[in-house]
Subunit: 212 residues, 2 copies
């Protein structure tokens, strides 16, 4: 499929996918690197470089076939197949993820939601019923789960990540404000909301200063 | 305070802040660039470069004073003062943000939560009562709000962002899967959860392939 793709390009892949899907919905079938660049606020040459990098698509002067390119990027991102998830932690974030239906359209389906608080067990959250964390090991052993969503407090995140790893989990979507330490064959992607808000605060102050 | 700080360094600032706060809690008062580097998995020279870049702190051979450096970075990030927020959209994400108490410890306090669904108005979400979106303009005019959290569906995000901008809002924390187009003096930081999950999926597949 595609060879080595740099981190910077990987981070842009979902944006390509989203814009191409929007174009498809708008009925656009063909788009030039310039047209796509304007839409994504990248230069045409950046677009050509990126797309070369992950596929070698399109013919000079003809632009890209929107559907083909979207499907190709979707395959690179694994969006052409279903990925089962568990969510660990039924706090605000865990519940929000459990109830969000936008992941399912990309094939990411949460099958279970766990919490260590026994009082939460049995509660309904969207289509899931909260299970006690003691059921985690059994559940992972008897179900084919690819992705673990880690939505536990900071102080228990590393321990829980190690437990998930020991149970064979290799992809962790981590919402805890912690840098997890796991073996190299584990993939971790962090959503550090606190840090994201701090960066917004920085930019806001900077812009205010520049315009003062 | 600090001059121009590159985007890459800005993205690392919250990580510095978090690690330094942890060190403070552990009772560590002084740390070398090497010690901090090991903790943050950066090289000592990277740490020295970064810290030079945002302050020119520390003396050769003495390491950094943990508390001073943490406070300095906190000021750069604006964490030394309070920032009032409104949340627009009382769906899963808006409610999760409203109920999350970790932002408040950094001074980010949500004062109101709005939704266009009149049936949601009056509901209690954490310490906030959902208000109808018609109250937004009046609320922003009579309160000193610095940050707007945009947690509305994709199709209404751009329109709502423009409304917020017209009402004087210059810092948007955007959870909608949309690239907002706003004038240059607006600061936008995106949390694109779908894209984050897609990147995890990519890395997981890549690692599986490399280890196959």
């Amino acid at each position: 499929m595609a060879g080595y793709i740099s981190d910077a390009v990987v981070r842009r892949l979902p944006g390509y996918y989203r814009h191409l899907r929007e174009l498809e919905l708008e009925g656009v079938t063909q788009i030039s690197s310039q047209g796509l660049g304007e839409r994504m606020r990248l230069t045409a040459s950046q677009i050509r470089q990126d797309i070369n990098c992950f596929g070698g698509f399109g013919r000079q002067g003809y632009g890209y076939n929107v559907k083909e390119l979207r499907e190709h990027i979707g395959r690179i991102l694994g969006l052409d197949s279903r990925h089962a998830m568990v969510i660990v932690g039924a706090g605000n974030i865990g519940r929000a993820i459990a109830q969000n239906d936008s992941f399912a359209k990309d094939g990411f389906v949460a099958l279970a939601l766990f919490d260590k608080d026994a009082r939460k067990a049995g509660r309904q959250v969207g289509e899931l019923t909260v299970r006690h964390i003691d059921e985690l090991d059994g559940f992972l052993k008897s179900n084919d789960i690819e992705i673990s969503v880690l939505a536990v407090p900071a102080h228990s995140a590393q321990t829980m990540a190690e437990r998930l790893y020991a149970l064979g989990q290799r992809a962790i979507w981590n919402f805890a404000p912690v840098d997890l330490k796991l073996p190299q064959d584990a993939s971790v992607v962090n959503v550090h909301l606190d840090e994201s808000l701090q960066i917004l605060s920085y930019r806001m102050l900077q812009t205010a200063r520049d315009n003062a």
